[in-house]
């Protein structure tokens, strides 16, 4: 068992090292700084600027979290604190079912439903023209995909909250809503953050559904109605094609390495925040 554990842990390092090794050609051709900040993407000339892709990834993920988090917190609170046990038993399987749907179906749903919705009904209020294929569409689709993950974690956090703690607040004459707002949410905060972190990590890497709806245009998005091109989509769309162009393969490996580093850094930072927070509020 130890062997397998060590194997799976070392796999993380092996992947990291492998990706780095494969990215060496493109790194020799250009500097880290240039690769990260340049917006010029001309593979034929050996110019690879990843800035638009990084921004595309951040935009889509950011929008997804902004949409999903409030919905998830409210949904969980309703399911755990307010819903009748019968309602809860009906609701939970649906939430779980959502997590079992393959990403490509979310992609199709996005193309058939979200894109026209944005194009015809949402975007016209804000911008002159939008095809609908935008980071907003990617964000919405992604929000729906991470919804069950966040809800199920927050549910677990809320369910394990001691009844006595709630009673303590209620016994002081607080209403249910005051108790939820000031005690339950506060106590659940580390759990909510942990759920968000997990969801963000997953959202960073989500490929197919996002790729289908966010336009895949390698420019830095300036509004939610602009198209974007996240890193995973870049890799999925191009890997295997155009191998005749020198350095292209290496550049895509670098994209993967970037994604890997972003997720790793993100996890480390959030872990630090989480431990600080737990030390501050909970027992």
């Amino acid at each position: 068992m130890l062997l397998f554990t060590v194997l799976s842990v070392s796999l993380v390092f092996i992947i990291g090292i492998g990706l780095y090794y494969k990215s060496i050609p493109v790194l020799q051709n250009s500097t880290w700084w240039h690769l990260l900040t340049s917006s010029v993407w001309k593979p034929l000339k050996g110019l690879f600027g990843f800035y638009p892709y990084i921004m595309g990834t951040l935009w889509v993920t950011g929008i997804a979290i902004i949409i999903a988090l409030p919905l998830c917190v409210l949904t969980s609170l309703y399911i755990v604190e307010y819903a009748h046990s019968r309602v809860r038993r009906i609701l939970m399987p649906f939430v779980n079912l959502l997590s079992g749907i393959p990403p490509v179906i979310f992609g199709v749903w996005g193309v058939l439903f979200i894109i026209p919705l944005i194009q015809d009904h949402i975007a016209p209020h804000f911008v002159e023209f939008s095809t609908g294929y935008s980071v907003l569409a990617g964000g919405i689709v992604l929000a729906v995909m991470i919804f069950p993950l966040i809800v199920s974690i927050i549910n677990e956090v809320l369910r394990t909250m001691p009844q006595e703690l709630k009673d303590a607040s209620l016994a002081l004459g607080a209403t249910k809503w005051e108790t939820v707002k000031k005690v339950i949410l506060r106590k659940a905060l580390p759990g909510i953050i942990a759920a968000t972190v997990l969801a963000i990590s997953r959202a960073f890497g989500e490929t197919i559904a996002v790729l289908m709806v966010c336009g895949n245009n390698a420019v830095v998005p300036h509004s939610v109605f602009d198209a974007g091109y996240p890193l995973p989509a870049l890799i999925a769309n191009n890997y295997g094609d155009m191998m005749s162009i020198p350095l292209y393969d290496s550049a895509l490996m670098f994209a993967a390495l970037l994604l890997f580093i972003i997720i790793l850094l993100f996890n480390i930072i959030s872990r630090i925040i989480l431990t600080r927070l737990e030390r501050r509020i909970s027992a």
């Binding site: 009748h84 009844q163 209620l170 016994a171 506060r186």
Partner: protein, 254 residues
């Protein structure tokens, strides 16, 4: 039953939880400004009885309560009664301390804030007064803003008492409030109860007979969901009228 004015008056109370008949035909008057202990073996319904006084059963789904509980003559189970108003009248001290996830200061100020006190000066006065009343002030005055969970468990329990007193209750309900505490903390809490009865009516659930003897003026002996005996502490422990009480006091029924 007693010559003191009744503060809580229970009439024909029956409680069913999930189809089980937990409390049966409870009729009792709990006197003002004294300590009343509810004793009885585990699972006899002591805690259930205590919780009916501030309607904490409302949070559970399958609890059915019939009968009347009058507090200051007001039926708390009347549909028109505002529950937060009832609960504000009673401070609850549970088995284990459950400090709210916030600072020591905010724990005490939580109740007053909810009931509309916003001014910092007013809150400062309340916090200091109640922390002094629970003999905690000197131990925590320099770290009011640190987390309540860093206190020892005995201190936490006193903090919970201070938190309860801060909303200005008339009644203190204690549910085996010392069962998680060490002997020193226990005796501090017991002393507090004795001191506080000048201003509050106190109802305690306890399974420690010696504690009941030490702090209470009256004892209610509950067995199997019924009140078997109710009287002055001295009389119930020394000279019980009922056979069951005799056996329990001697330690035959656990």
């Amino acid at each position: 039953m007693t010559k003191d004015k009744a503060h809580i008056s229970v009439q024909d109370l029956n409680v069913h939880i999930g189809g089980n008949h937990i409390l049966k035909d409870i009729n009792i008057d709990i006197p003002n400004k004294s300590v009343t202990s509810i004793i009885g073996p585990s699972g006899c319904g002591k805690t259930t009885l205590l919780k009916t006084f501030n309607r904490l059963h409302d949070t559970a789904a399958d609890v059915k309560v019939t009968g009347k509980v009058l507090v200051d003559g007001e039926d708390i189970y009347d549909p028109n009664t505002e529950i937060t108003h009832i609960r504000k009248k009673m401070g609850l001290l549970s088995q284990r301390p459950y400090p709210l996830p916030m600072s020591i200061y905010d724990n005490v100020a939580y109740g007053p804030r909810i009931h509309g006190i916003r001014k910092k000066q007013d809150l400062d006065i309340i916090v200091e007064k109640q922390l002094k009343a629970t003999a905690l002030w000197n131990e925590v005055k320099d770290r009011l803003n640190s987390s309540a969970t860093r206190l020892s468990i005995g201190q936490q329990q006193r903090l919970c008492l201070a938190r309860g007193l801060a909303v200005g209750p008339e009644i203190i309900l204690g549910d085996e409030s010392t069962s998680a505490l060490d002997p020193v903390s226990t005796s501090i809490i017991e002393d507090l109860f004795v001191k506080l009865k000048q201003d509050y009516s106190i109802v305690l659930v306890t399974h420690i007979l010696r504690q009941a003897a030490r702090v209470s003026d009256y004892i209610i002996f509950v067995y199997n969901g019924r009140i078997v005996e109710y009287g002055k502490t001295e009389q119930v422990l020394r000279d019980p009228h009922e056979e069951l009480t005799k056996e329990y006091v001697k330690g035959y029924i656990v």
